[in-house]
């Protein structure tokens, strides 16, 4: 049977290309590996042929997938899941890498590009380096292969037709030749999550993946060096790649932060989410590796650590991939992929490269043989006997032991120890701290993995837990560990000390000489930076009001300012403005500013929507009465038209407007200006009234003004009290700006709030809508109504009022006859309404409903503006006294507003970090034209 309208050729071509990409990479791996063992131009040619075939196939896959997406061929699962017809064309790029398969392709693509560059540039390193790159490509190609070996599917292909998916095989509709037109779901795709429809999703993933891909180059060079017994020579060509990776990966990570901050309602730029952590950790080790490589160029020292960090970086990239794509993170992460059977493949991918790295580190052939034998044995046992976890644990243990063996037996050890006052010693310490920092983040992020590893031992551990009666062990035995409740506090506690050490080292590093330094000169050189940093820290502590208990933050503040100042000073004094060599200094200043900006903006972020003052209709319920740990009132409720003090501004909620799928909530901000009171003005303080004795400008507190300017009023009515405003120090001045946070209405993916931020030089005001009326069509000024079925004489309590259903009247006289016609009559209910928070404040409401015979046809509600409530009568039965009443509150929205001070320091730091690293890479490339 031929299906109508299907692009079967694309499916066939796609499967062919994925197979070709796999085969080409396999051929390249074998040929380059053989070429490394026995250098021969023939092997290299064959390897190049294989890699070029692979490259052509990958390019073909990418082009084909774009064609499928552009033309909306919804018979393909990937196209249907990730795109639709309404979506703007510019987001096709985002669709490409939204899914698991597409993002693997993106990664493969960058490796392919880098591989082609290396074929041209790597020279004598070509064979071993390309062998490693090609092997990685073999594994990546399997991830999108989508073929079945027996019952096991290997990888997931983007060229699968929906009707070919295993879950659809044999379903009746797959037998229809015109299923594409017959079944409505195929008319349009599910579409890209609207949350991802912004330019960040276009630029962030390619940058991040280029960063990930670049970490492969130093890894491949390190393996090549160990393989061909050129322990140090590999570093010179690997170094520019390493710092290029530092730049690109760093930019990618920070772009993710900027995206979260600008367009998502995470309430900040970094949430310590596992996926974010997984991208940060390899960056930390990559920075360490790069710095140690520079040490090794000068002096034979720290070789083992250099290898370890270089290899670990790429292994951590693989581990990140495993964490975020295998599904093990499950319900601990906000944005991980669901897995879909990728776990075994990803695990094998990672373990093979761990084994490869360990083997490479072993310098004795016999050790390599033992280890290889052990790995094969464990693989056979693990898979054959279905004891994977035990096998993995044993494998890890073996690898660690072998690493120790490698450390003891290898040619790593320098003849002499470094001097304490040498640059290389402190670079080594800095790299170790980076490794520790990375390890801590990895531990904490790996909690779900611990659970998986513990699972087979739960019964044994459970016995121990009962024996020792240990609750903690019992939880471990239950294999139900969860990440820390307050992730931010947990990571900050550990990472602030690490950041402090790193920042201090960044400050002093360049002032230390290689081999040994003159300490007197060292102190003299740094004096100016120390003084400047101390002054700036004092200023910062005063401005931002850091307290003594926040000593860790003050210390970090000092360290980052010191790092920035010392590197600026180095630029001026030592380099004398020679920009060619300024890369490192600029990057260091940038790094210090990133830390400083992060420190200031997160430690001094202020939720100004926190509103504990009295609301219009009574006090706010204090959440702390309920639970001391509850964060109280982080959001403010704004009635439409109301003006409320918000930090240094007043804010008015003006109204809603629909713009496509977005509902914009316009909020106007006015400057808070000093309030002038004239003689005779009355104000309310709690339930007392005061009158101004003379004209004056209010100070910050009523108590300060009371004696001089105010006299209490003895006799006043409740009406006077209600009509007198509360005393306030300020009043709304001229309009300063407007913010329009919005909610994306999306029935398919759920409604999504998007923030609106006002930027100043020294701080940002970030707002988003937490709760609001989401009905775009309803233009009334009321929230959705509450419905009550009650009896005359009943009482209703709402959050603002007490409503007594007093009486019901039927009106049918000459007047209703002439106005409505004789078939109609009017029923009216008299409501006696009391302010919930003021027992003396009574109102009356008389909503009516028009009946035609026994059918209600229309009604006229009654509004009490003082209580912001509207009463609508749905039904009223004079026989039984039954009343159907709708009560609706005035329209409001719930807004969160956070001030982030100093966040621009962070962004400036990002730019300098990227720029400085770029300068350093460029300098290295131009000063040495022949690399390797």
């Amino acid at each position: 049977m031929t299906y109508l309208g299907e692009h079967t050729w694309a499916s066939t071509l796609g499967h062919f290309l994925t197979s070709l990409s796999f085969a080409g990479a396999l051929l390249a791996t074998a040929a380059f590996a053989l070429g490394t063992a026995r250098p021969d131009a023939g092997w290299t040619r064959l390897g190049r042929l294989g890699f070029r075939a692979h490259a052509t196939a990958v390019l073909g896959i990418v082009v084909l997938l774009f064609i499928m997406l552009f033309n909306h061929w919804f018979e393909f699962d990937y196209v249907w899941k990730h795109s639709n017809r309404e979506m703007p064309m510019r987001y096709i790029l985002s669709c490409f890498w939204e899914g698991q398969e597409g993002s693997f392709l993106l990664w493969t693509f960058w490796h392919m590009v880098i591989g082609l560059v290396l074929i041209r540039k790597a020279g004598e390193w070509e064979a071993p380096v390309l062998a490693v790159v090609s092997l990685v490509q073999v594994f990546l190609a399997t991830m999108v292969l989508g073929v079945f070996v027996g019952d096991v599917r290997i990888g997931s292909s983007p060229f699968m037709l929906i009707r070919e998916l295993p879950e659809n095989l044999g379903l009746p509709w797959t037998g229809l030749e015109d299923y594409l037109t017959r079944i409505p779901q195929f008319a349009d795709g599910r579409g890209l999550n609207p949350l991802l429809q912004n330019y960040w999703m276009v630029i962030h993933p390619p940058t991040l993946f280029l960063g990930f891909a670049t970490t492969l180059v130093p890894f491949a060079y390190a393996i090549a060096g160990l393989w061909t017994k050129r322990m140090r020579e590999w570093m010179a060509p690997a170094l520019p790649w390493t710092f290029f990776g530092v730049m690109v990966l760093g930019t990618g990570i920070l772009m993710g932060g900027a995206w979260a901050y600008e367009a998502l309602s995470f309430g900040g730029f970094w949430a310590w989410d596992p996926v974010e952590n997984a991208s940060l950790v390899p960056w930390l080790t990559l920075v360490g590796a790069g710095h140690l490589m520079m040490v090794n160029k000068r002096k034979e020292t720290s070789l083992f650590t250099t290898m370890l960090l270089t290899l670990t970086t790429f292994l951590l990239v693989l581990y990140s991939t495993f964490l975020t794509r295998s599904g093990v993170l499950g319900d601990t992460s906000v944005h991980s992929f669901t897995g879909e059977g990728m776990l075994p493949g990803l695990l094998l991918f990672m373990l093979v490269f761990v084994a490869m790295s360990t083997t490479a580190m072993l310098t004795r052939l016999s050790d390599r043989r033992y280890y290889a034998l052990l790995c094969v044995a464990l693989l056979v046992i693990g898979v054959g006997l279905q004891v994977q976890v035990a096998a993995i644990l044993l494998f890890t243990l073996c690898s660690l032991v072998m690493l120790w063996v490698a450390y003891r037996t290898g040619p790593w050890h320098a003849a002499e120890e470094e001097k304490l006052a040498s640059r290389e010693f402190w670079l080594f310490i800095g790299s170790l701290v980076l490794l520790l920092s990375a390890a801590q983040i990895t531990f904490s992020t790996s909690v779900p993995v611990f659970n998986l590893l513990l699972e087979p031992f739960t019964s044994r551990l459970g016995g121990l837990a009962e024996q020792w009666n240990s609750d903690w062990l019992r939880n471990v035995a239950g294999a139900k560990l969860a990440p820390p409740a307050d992730a931010k506090a947990h990571y900050v506690k550990w990472q602030v000390p690490f950041a402090f050490i790193i920042a201090m080292l960044v400050a002093v590093g360049q002032y230390l000489r290689w081999k040994d330094s003159d300490m007197q000169k060292f102190r003299r050189d740094l004096l100016r930076a120390v003084v400047v940093a101390a002054l700036l820290t004092a200023l910062g502590v005063w401005l931002l009001q850091y307290k003594l208990v926040e000593l860790d933050l003050i210390a970090l503040f000092f360290a980052t300012v010191f790092a920035a100042a010392a590197n600026v000073d180095y630029l001026i004094k030592v380099l004398k403005g020679k920009w060619d060599h300024a890369g490192a200094s600029v990057a260091h200043v940038g790094f210090a500013l990133v830390l400083l900006g992060a420190l200031i903006s997160t430690s001094r972020q202020q939720e100004i929507s926190r509103n504990l003052t009295q609301r219009v209709s009574g006090p706010v319920m204090d959440l702390r009465h309920l639970n001391e740990q509850f964060d109280n009132n982080t959001d403010v409720l704004l009635y439409k038209g109301d003006t409320v003090r918000l930090g240094e501004h007043y804010v008015t909620y003006v109204g809603r407007r629909a713009d496509g799928v977005n509902l914009h909530y316009r909020t106007d901000y006015m400057k808070a200006e000093p309030r002038h009171y004239s003689s005779g003005d009355t104000v309310r303080i709690r339930s007392s009234l005061f009158r101004a004795k003379e004209a004056h400008t209010a100070s910050v507190d009523f108590l300060l003004d009371q004696a001089n300017y105010w006299e209490p009023l003895e006799n006043y009515s409740r009406r006077d009290l209600w009509h007198s405003p509360h005393w306030s120090a300020t009043r709304p001045g001229t309009k300063a700006f407007t913010l329009e946070p919005f909610v994306q209405l999306n029935p398919r993916f759920g409604n999504v709030p998007e923030p609106s931020t006002r930027h100043w030089l020294h701080r940002d005001l970030y707002t988003h809508v937490r709760y609001a009326k989401l009905d775009a069509a309803d233009s009334t000024d009321h929230m959705p109504e509450r419905t009550f079925e009650k009896q005359i004489g009943d009482t209703i309590v709402t959050p603002t009022s007490v409503v007594v259903l007093d009486s019901l009247m039927v009106v049918k006289d000459a007047r209703t006859d002439s106005m409505l016609g004789s078939a109609f009559h009017v029923r009216m209910v008299r409501l006696r309404v009391r302010d919930l928070y003021d027992a003396e404040r009574w109102f009356e409401a008389r909503p009516v409903v028009i009946y035609r015979g026994t059918e209600p046809v229309a009604g006229k509600g009654f509004e009490i503006p003082e209580l912001r409530a509207k009463y609508d009568l749905a039904t009223a039965d004079p026989e039984t006294g039954k009343v159907g009443l709708h009560i609706s509150d005035g329209e409001f929205l719930v807004l969160q507003a956070i001030v982030f001070p100093g966040i621009n320091i962070l962004w400036i730091g990002c730019v300098l970090l990227a720029l400085g690293t770029f300068m350093a890479v460029r300098q290295r490339l131009t000063s040495k034209p022949s690399r390797g």
Binding site: Q185, A482, P483, H490
Partner: protein, 136 residues
């Protein structure tokens, strides 16, 4: 003792401290019965929202308090007070993870992860899975 040994010791000590610190800072996943067995202790509980019971969110009284009923994986039910504004599409959620503690026979949650079905589920031919979001 050589300096490298001292450094190695410090590094090992810091690594062990980080590991232990990580494990002690961790919470654990429990069911409601276990959470009720240790009131006041912080846990994570996974379950679903009971859509039959009312979800109470009165922003006029407090904009950061949502009350609802949780059914855990064992089928035990419990009233929850969540110190957050009611999340968008809460009624559509198919699975939730709460972080909090038992206080006075209620579960007081300070944090919530929510999984919503984000794809079509109508019709048996095209199915799909949901995505998790953290409630802000």
């Amino acid at each position: 003792m050589k300096r490298s040994h001292i450094i190695a010791l410090i590094v090992i000590a810091a690594a062990v401290a980080a590991l232990v610190g990580t494990l002690t800072d961790n919470t654990t996943f429990v069911d409601l019965a276990q959470a009720f067995a240790s009131p006041g202790k912080e846990f994570r509980v996974k379950g679903t929202l009971d859509k039959a019971d009312p979800i109470i969110y009165e922003p006029i009284v407090n904009a950061n308090l949502t009350e609802f009923t949780l059914v855990d994986d064992q089928g035990k039910r419990c009233r929850v007070k969540l110190a957050k504004a009611k999340p968008y599409d809460f009624e559509r959620s198919e699975s939730i993870v709460l972080t909090g503690r038992v206080v006075n026979d209620e579960f007081h949650a300070s944090d919530m992860l929510m999984k919503c079905p984000s794809k079509y589920t109508e019709g048996n031919e095209l199915k799909a899975e949901g995505e998790w979001t953290r409630v802000q």
